[in-house]
């Protein structure tokens, strides 16, 4: 397993270099620049600005400088746990061209924990709802207990979060006044308990969408497993349906869900842009999209690189879990 992990991590290096290189040059091909604006900046001021951010150098020189700056030079795990890439790895992602006075490292360290919590709790919620719903549906195939959760899941998949989000905010925020209509932190209060109501709607909105997919995948996986011989054997031994399902069937039946988790985590962490906009959450998803629109070169590169690393690591974890759960597979 160690060898497998190391090989996969080594393979990741060229992948990351390719991603950064492509992003770097594609960004520069896009019309407009970080300082193009409706009220144009005088020519010589623009030149001075470009000089300040090192944008006057030839492109290959800029590329080389950037690569040198972001290259990891040390390893400091405690700092890395705080997403401080500068202290943790010695990687300097440069200053943001849009938000003066803030570096890309700072913006990521400040906003990623928010997106991470939003995403992880949404996935947790999706699992808590999706797996039981899918299992119940599979066990009661073609009955009301199958049709009801599955039609709900279909509706969930069809309703994008930019529809569901405002509806939830309207119903549970404005009309029923159960939760605040915008999210994340209670402003002016420093007690963490006060933050809880602010997090409900965004996490539920994001979680429900993935719960729907997971319910369908669980149902499919379970149906296949429930017809297997070893399940019949388990039943024949006289085990209760509950034990058969939880102990024997789920382990294999969840395979599709676990494979799905990799891309889901990537999607949840990078694609929470819509939820973050609707609920005004200070997360990384917004920087990810807005940076591209603002041509904030360093912030785009920084977020892309950060997400790429994250996705590689998450996929690796998912692959390891799959092998551990499936005795038929081996690490090679």
């Amino acid at each position: 397993m160690l060898k497998f992990t190391l090989i996969r991590l080594l393979q990741a290096i060229p992948v990351l270099i390719v991603i950064i290189t492509l992003t770097f040059f594609m960004l520069r091909l896009a019309p407009g620049g970080p300082f193009s604006a409706e009220r144009k900046i005088p020519e010589h001021i623009l030149a001075a600005l470009n000089e300040h951010y090192g944008l006057n150098d030839p492109l290959p020189v800029q590329y080389w400088n950037y690569m040198v700056k972001i290259c990891p030079k040390k390893l400091n795990i405690p700092a890395l746990m705080k997403f401080d890439l500068k202290e943790g790895l010695g990687s300097d992602l440069g200053p943001s061209t849009r938000y003066e006075g803030r570096t890309v490292n700072e913006l990521i360290a400040e906003s990623f924990p928010v997106s991470f919590q939003l995403g992880m709790f949404a996935i947790l919620l999706a699992l808590l709802i999706g797996i039981p719903a899918g299992t119940v549906a599979a066990l009661n195939k073609n009955t009301l207990l199958d049709y009801f959760p599955m039609s709900m899941a279909m509706a969930g998949i069809c309703l994008p979060s930019f529809v569901l989000g405002p509806i939830f905010a309207l119903v549970f925020g404005l009309w029923l006044e159960w939760f605040p209509v915008i999210g994340w932190r209670s402003i002016g209060s420093f007690h963490w308990m006060d933050d809880i109501p602010y997090r409900v709607l965004p996490i539920v909105t994001l979680g429900l969408y993935y719960a729907a997919g997971m319910a369908r995948l669980t149902r499919g996986g379970m149906l296949e497993v429930l017809n297997q011989d070893y399940i019949r054997t388990a039943r024949a031994k006289g085990l209760s349906t509950f034990i058969v399902t939880t102990k024997h069937a789920l382990r294999a039946g969840l395979m599709p869900v676990i494979s799905y988790l990799g891309p889901v985590m990537a999607g949840v962490l990078s694609g929470s842009f819509i939820i973050e906009t609707i609920f005004q959450i200070p997360g990384l998803g917004r920087h990810f999209i807005n940076a591209a629109l603002n041509r904030d070169y360093t912030l785009v590169l920084g977020t892309v690189l950060f997400y790429a690393v994250l996705i590689i690591i998450l996929n690796l974890i998912v692959d390891i879990v799959i092998v551990l759960m499936n005795p038929k597979l081996k690490f090679n």
Binding site: G32, K82, E100, G101, L174, V181, I187, I196, R199, V200
Partner: protein, 553 residues
Amino acid sequence: MKFTHLFITNLTFLLSLLFISGCGPRKSGVEQAAEAGILLLGNHAEPQSLDPQVATGVPENHVITSIMEGLIAYHPSDDTAIEPGLAERFETNEAGDVYTFYLQPNGKWSNGDPITAHDFIYSYQRMLDPNLAAQYVTMLFVVRNAKEYHESLSVEDPNHTPISWDEVGFKAIDDKTLEISLIAPMPYFPLMLKHYSWFPVHPPTIEAHGGKTSRNGRWFQLGNHVGSGPFRLKSWVTNQVLEVERNPEYWDADTVKLNGIRFFPIESTDTENRLFESDGLHKTHDIQLSKIQEYQQNLPEKVRTDPYLGSYFYRINVSRGDALADKRVRRALLLSIDRERITENVLRGGQIPAYHYVPMGISGYTSKTYFEYDPEEAKRLLAEAGYPNGEGFPVFDILYNTFEQHKIIAETIQQMWKTSLGIEVGIHNQEWKVYLDAQSSLDYDISRAGWIGDYVDPYTFLEMFTTGNGNNDTGWSSARYDELIATAPMAGTDEKRYAMLQEAEDLLMDELPILPIYIYTRPYLIHPTLKNWNPKLMDNRNMKYIWLEPSGE
């Protein structure tokens, strides 16, 4: 980061999901805040910079003017009034080109240091240094030798001797007296000083965080910032909230009524309006186009549409020598747009149909009605230009940046031109930066545009259409126009100056490189507890005069 806490926070939330029914209704946020004297303000976007010499945008303006101040401050309702700021009073010489400002005797920085004339000198020298790359540097060019100084420093020739700072028209007579010499008599000069590019910065703070021309922006971060305004920075979380509190060192602290302001950078109008409806804001930045009518019917006392110093128009690319280079064609296009239909049926936010380019409301300047909606005359002109009933008219595109409102307007105009003139134009949208690029490289036929004034004066609208100006973007050029714009600032009196600018607008509206469509308004939602928030042409606020009156509910 306290992970255990965060974990427990979220775990408790998950548990609380199970007890959803247990949650009770919240207290009204605006009422609570009004009692505490804290203004909750929708501020549209995250400020890019709080450096008065570097910043450029509207959200930045609102924050900067609450934590910094200039020689002259904003009046609560009258944009033409001179309201004392860091200067207690000023006088001019007989010729009207030298201003002497006497600073507030008890003027202090938020850290307690006295504010001196030398701080102003430092700030202006900083702004004129090309290495700072201050975008509004041209604002200072009304001062004697400021332009020459700035340009001489930009020259890279090593043999070139730059102009000495002593020759520039800024002078500290003593600690509390500042003298500014102008290139010509300019009666409107004190009004210009309200703009934040004229605000002084605290030299020791600048020096402690990178130095005079550093753009690292460290000096205005939380904990470092030293300001001169009625409020001071209290907390700042990117994309969440920026909070300011009373500045006890402010020279006029007794007048300040609010205890603090929270600026919410909410870019989504839908989200912002929803927050207002749930009593989370005292005032929004905007109202969603699709919801204006609903609000006007249901919450008429909370909807306001203030006049705004902004013009919405279409640029025409006249540089290609095609049909659009023909003045008669441009006039035909102009006359066949039914502006009232656009403002009343499409926009519905009180916008004003524009029959001139410079917005109305600038006292002393007349906004003439240069034309009227006249599809018959338009038809005749088009026929005269060789396209009777639009026959043989080449295919053109209207370019706009991707935005629902621009799209609907473009579609409406497309339809109007088809019906009145019988011509087919396409419409075409581009993402913001791509659109800007296309516009400045004249890679378009007709392009949607908007312009918001920098200060209350026609000059800020007319200056951009001079030959080769970076914001002209139409390829249009007129020697007479250039001459008028170049000489108007030195006219000596407001009457003469306005007459020259008026002639310039006459010329522009005769030649028509642009087609005016409507004059902007600012639709917004406002809670009744917010007081003294008066209609202002540029939405410039002096936050010390704003107060909140709890309704006691």
